[in-house]
């Protein structure tokens, strides 16, 4: 029936079929009813208008700006707390824990409490309560880079809203006593801080393992937690090199927060992934023996009147280049880094009077390798036509140009063969060979690209370049050939020329001053020239040749393996803390050299005799060389105005598992190689042999 009453087409209004109202004549009051309807229609128009506005706004909020709003919503309503991942351990080859995990109690102060005027008084009260110096607490509160702040890493490196650590390793009961009286110690809190534990080998491996400090604003690749728990980053050694493996992945707990900032509900929880253990090739027994031998050897050298300020031992497995032991003196207890280092501790580490205990000298400090270098000069000599089976005269000194170059302590040995030259470490033989080669290359007039067999052989054995050991901050040493000399000359010419003019008036020793002035004049006008003296010094590893014990060790590994120069490495595998998922790290390829076979045979004989009857024989007295052949070369690097640096480089010890080892010792200003360095190596060999039995 409805249809009947629908309005005539003329009366329809443009609202579409659904909304078409029925207009059937006027109501009881004619015009008034129509106008009332018209007004209702106006209202319908208003509805259409407001609906359009609302839908438009919905489109804007949800579609156009949708992604941005979703991001903002996630930001505004959640706080993320980093759940630190347990750091992986550093293990020895046999699974012994070298660096483990522990925790310590650290006192913190809230930024609000610190901002108050009475903060110094509060810190003084805290200091007396825990038996510390107020000054030491104060120093740690200043943000790095601000006025009066302690130098990094002692200064505060966290976010401005994080609690500031003021004292580490606080006695737990003393800390709790503070917490019980919050009214007297406002803003003071206690938090556990993750620490590294080092067992008995902390000192011996301090530079190898490295240390951790809290991430700072400069560590842009690492998200700092913002939760008051600092993210610790490896700064040196294995800790730095394998930081990504050891650190694992921090977890994140996202908590919904209400308008008052209180946590309401946990909305997401990404559990932390514990860091993986790094398994090294360090053998605890050998490491311990090396550390003890080095410390004892240095003490003995000092008793003999040597300065012996520092020293290093490197033990490699010759084929793989795996580092079996590596230790340095002076060293320190790396647990000082736990919970943040104090100013006093850091000062003592940086004490300029002592050699830097933070540096892994075995791979980061290069110096002249002295006579150990002869083992390689020999192959250069072979290239220049020196007969491996010939006999050569070893006078006490030779004249090169207008200067006399003499043997160590000016000993003469008559006419000797090559093994003997190594056994007694005759310098003059090498001087002649190197001088002849220098003359052949063109002498002072030689062009920059003239052949230099001594330098090129040294480079082949890895000198003058980093070995590629898997530790940061390796030194590359220096092989001064004609090309590098020219580069250096161009860089230092101006300074040399100034000195040539001004002389050295500040040096009291007249002879020394005039000598240096002479050198400066030479360097100014012709510093790029490789002089005869440079060439002959080079052949015996003196002068400007510089190498690290690690470089000497890899080059001796090549001698032990008929020419395979390994890339040394400390870490061999990663594993989960339960020992599962052990993954071997790819071992880098060794670089194969082709050695002159005849010279190699003579050399082996010479190196063997150096240990059995030569310069190192004293140190190896009583060692069963028949069962465990050891090949070695002593070195005594003389530096003007300092005590000589003692070297001993050795390899051998083929044992039941067919492995050969390299042991290199350097004692800076330790005196003669045979006297100071060789006995240290002997102790290490004792440990290696004990192990193999």
């Amino acid at each position: 029936m409805t249809r009947l009453h629908r309005g005539t087409p003329r009366e329809r209004r443009p609202f579409g079929p659904f909304l078409v109202p029925s207009f059937r004549g006027a109501g009881s009051r004619g015009g008034r009813g129509t106008s009332g309807r018209a007004r209702l229609l106006v209202m319908a128009l208003v509805v259409a208008l407001v609906a359009t506005v609302m839908v438009g706004r919905l489109v804007q909020l949800q579609i156009v700006d949708g992604a941005e709003n979703a991001r903002a919503a996630a930001d505004i309503n959640t706080r993320h707390v980093v759940v630190p991942a347990q750091r992986g351990r550093i293990l020895a080859a046999d699974g012994t824990v070298l660096v483990g995990n522990g925790s310590t109690t650290t006192l913190t102060i809230s930024p609000q409490a610190l901002a108050r005027d009475d903060a110094p008084k509060l810190l003084a009260r805290v200091a007396s309560a825990i038996g510390r110096e107020p000054q030491s607490l104060m120093a740690r509160t200043k943000a790095c880079g601000t006025e009066g702040a302690a130098p990094s890493p002692v200064c505060f490196a966290g976010h401005p809203f994080e609690p500031v650590p003021i004292a580490s390793d606080v006695d737990a009961s003393a800390a709790n006593a503070l917490l019980e009286r919050p009214e007297a110690y406002p803003g003071i809190a206690v938090r556990p801080a993750a620490t590294r534990t080092y067992g008995s080998r902390g000192d011996s491996l301090a530079q190898v393992a490295g240390y951790l400090t809290a991430a700072t604003a400069d560590d842009t690749d690492v998200a700092t937690s913002g939760s008051g728990v600092p993210t610790l980053l490896g700064r040196t050694g294995v800790e730095k090199q394998y930081d990504a493996v050891l650190r694992g992945r921090d977890g994140k707990r996202s908590t919904a927060i209400g308008p008052d900032g209180t946590a309401q509900r946990q909305v997401a929880d990404v559990p932390p992934v514990a860091g993986q253990d790094v398994v090294t090739s360090i053998r605890p027994a050998v490491q311990d023996a090396a550390a003890k031998a080095l410390a004892d050897g240095i003490a003995a050298a000092r008793e003999r009147g040597q300065k012996a300020g520092s020293g290093s031992v490197v033990v490699l497995e010759a084929n793989s280049g795996n580092v079996v032991a590596m230790t340095n003196q002076p060293t320190y207890d790396p647990s000082v880094w736990n919970g943040g280092v104090t100013q006093a501790e850091y000062d003592s580490l940086l004490d300029t009077r002592a050699a830097d205990p933070l540096t892994n000298r075995a791979m980061s400090v290069a110096g002249p390798p002295a006579s150990t270098f002869k083992a390689f000069s020999l192959f250069a000599a072979a290239q220049t036509g020196v007969d491996p089976n010939g006999s050569y005269s070893c006078p006490s000194s030779v004249m090169i140009g207008n200067r006399s170059y003499s043997n160590f302590e000016s000993q003469a040995h008559g006419t000797i063969d090559i093994p003997k030259a190594l056994e007694v470490s005759c310098d003059t033989v090498f001087y002649r060979w190197a001088y002849d080669a220098w003359v052949k290359a063109g002498g002072v007039k030689a062009s920059t690209d003239a052949p230099d067999p001594y330098a090129s052989v040294a480079r082949e054995f890895g000198y003058g370049a980093r070995t590629g050991v898997d530790l940061p901050a390796e030194a590359s040493g220096s092989i001064p050939d004609r090309a590098t000399k020219r580069r250096e000359w161009e860089a230092t010419k101006a300074a040399s020329c100034r000195r040539a003019k001004s002389g050295y008036p500040e040096i009291a020793d007249k002879d020394r001053a005039s000598y240096l002035t002479q050198v400066a004049k030479e360097n100014c006008t012709s510093g790029y020239v490789v002089r005869a003296g440079d060439a002959v010094n080079f052949a015996i590893g003196q002068g400007d040749v510089a190498a690290t014990p690690m470089q000497v060790a890899t080059s001796f590994a090549a001698l032990a393996t008929n020419g395979r120069v390994p890339t040394p490495r400390v870490a061999v595998a990663t594993a989960r803390s339960d020992g599962s998922a052990r993954t071997a790290l790819a071992s880098p390829e060794a670089r194969a050299l082709s050695l002159d076979a005849r010279m190699y045979a003579r050399e082996l004989e010479g190196l063997k005799r150096a240990v059995s009857t030569g310069t190192a024989s004293e140190a190896f007295r009583g060692f069963d060389l028949d069962a465990h052949a050891v090949y070695g070369k002593t070195g005594t690097a003389e530096v003007y105005g300092k005590h000589a640096t003692a070297w001993f480089a050795s390899f051998g010890g083929a044992d039941e598992d067919g492995k050969r080892y390299v042991v290199v010792v350097r004692v800076d200003e330790g005196g003669e190689g045979g006297r100071t360095a060789a006995p240290i190596a002997r102790s290490v060999w004792d440990a290696l042999v004990r192990r193999s039995r």
């Binding site: 008034r32 009332g36 609302m54 949708g66 308008p259």
Partner: protein
């Protein structure tokens, strides 16, 4: 069955759909803290509201008109009661009467009463060139002024505005000279200026109004709410994060979400599609009410539908508008969707009244 045949099915379905959505959205907004208890109570409210609607629908037109004075009196008495010691203050407004087990908001009842009273008073008046006589205007204004004043005394700005919107639309439908409308508009502007320059409005009301303007002015109070609601809706995208899955909703970031800000639950969890659906349904209810008013043959029905349409329209626009950051925040519920017994009952009674008007014109036609 005779009554059902006269029902306006579109209006019923739309209102029921909104009510059902309201129950679901209330459930989602409160499940984290209260489980399903609010949803159950919401469903109960809808059931009671629908029952009331059917009761009103069945009333004879004459009985209905005869009951108008009584209804108006009851509405005014309720508003008086809330200001007496019977009333209780929640969120700065003395708007509720606590009864054992539930609470009543007399302002909601007053909306129904005012709609009836205005329709009744303005329907039987003399017309001069299609406009109301001055005397009738005075009577109408007087009828509206009493509940308005009582509501402002609570103070409940939102309900006061709804009541004003109802009066304006009733007068608009009944016929009012343009000049009078202009005066009314001028008066409204004057009131708005007074509201912001004198202590006429409570501080919290001014805060809310300003927060819409600048959310950052009051970041931890109403501005926080405005910002949160905007972000919640904004992060809904096309299809939303899913019912019971909205981050902001489930995280409990939006105070009063299941009452005044229930639209934001739809925005976040059901997305643009869901929010659009609610806008469409609310607007459909308004338009359907208008259509029934237009079809009505007597002035009472027309004016009543106009007043109710004005009520639903204003409340929908204000509520959705404040959710979308288009309107100042005043506490008005979204018709049929927001949780709240009194509001749900009054909205459904209004549906019953519109249905009654519809049925009356049908009966007369057939």
């Amino acid at each position: 069955m005779r009554d059902l045949a006269h029902l306006d099915l579109g209006l019923l379905v739309a209102a029921a759909g909104l009510s059902l959505l309201g129950i679901l959205l209330t459930w989602s907004a409160t499940t984290a803290t209260s489980g399903s208890s609010f949803a159950v109570r919401g469903a109960l409210n809808v059931a009671v509201g629908m029952a009331l609607a059917f009761a009103v629908l069945r009333l004879d037109a004459r009985t209905l008109r005869a009951a108008v004075p009584l209804a108006y009196l009851a509405g005014v008495l309720g508003l008086l009661a809330v200001l007496s010691p019977l009333g209780s203050t929640i969120n700065g407004s003395r708007s509720w009467i606590e009864l054992p087990g539930f609470s009543v908001q007399p302002a909601e009842i007053a909306k129904v009463a005012l709609g009836l009273a205005l329709a009744s008073a303005l329907a039987d008046t003399d017309q001069v060139r299609g406009a109301l006589a001055r005397r009738d205007v005075r009577v109408g204004l007087g009828l509206a002024a009493v509940p308005l004043a009582l509501i402002m005394a609570q103070p409940d700005l939102g309900s006061a505005l709804v009541v004003t919107a109802m009066a304006v639309s009733a007068f608009a439908v009944a016929g009012l000279r343009a000049r009078v409308f202009a005066w009314l508009f001028a008066a409204a502007v004057a009131v708005a200026v007074l509201a912001f320059t004198t202590p006429l409005l409570a501080q919290y009301q001014r805060d809310r109004l300003l927060a819409f303007w600048r959310p950052e002015a009051d970041p931890s109070g109403i501005g926080y709410q405005v910002a949160q609601v905007k972000l919640a809706i904004g992060s809904g995208g096309w299809f939303g994060q899913g019912l019971f899955e909205g981050r902001s909703t489930q995280g409990g970031f939006i105070p009063f979400q299941y009452t005044d800000f229930v639209f934001s639950v739809a925005g976040e969890e059901l997305g643009f599609v869901g929010a659009l659906g609610i806008v469409a349904l609310e607007m459909f209810v308004v338009v359907r009410t208008l259509v029934i008013g237009i079809r009505s043959r007597d002035a009472f029905g027309r004016i009543l539908c106009g007043a109710i349409a004005g009520w639903f329209l204003f409340q929908s626009v204000e509520n959705i508008g404040m959710n979308l950051g288009l309107m100042p925040v005043t506490g008005v519920p979204l018709p049929f969707v927001s949780y709240g017994g009194s509001s749900m009952f009054s909205c459904w009674i209004a549906v019953g009244l519109v249905g009654n008007v519809h049925a009356a014109s049908r009966r007369r036609i057939s």
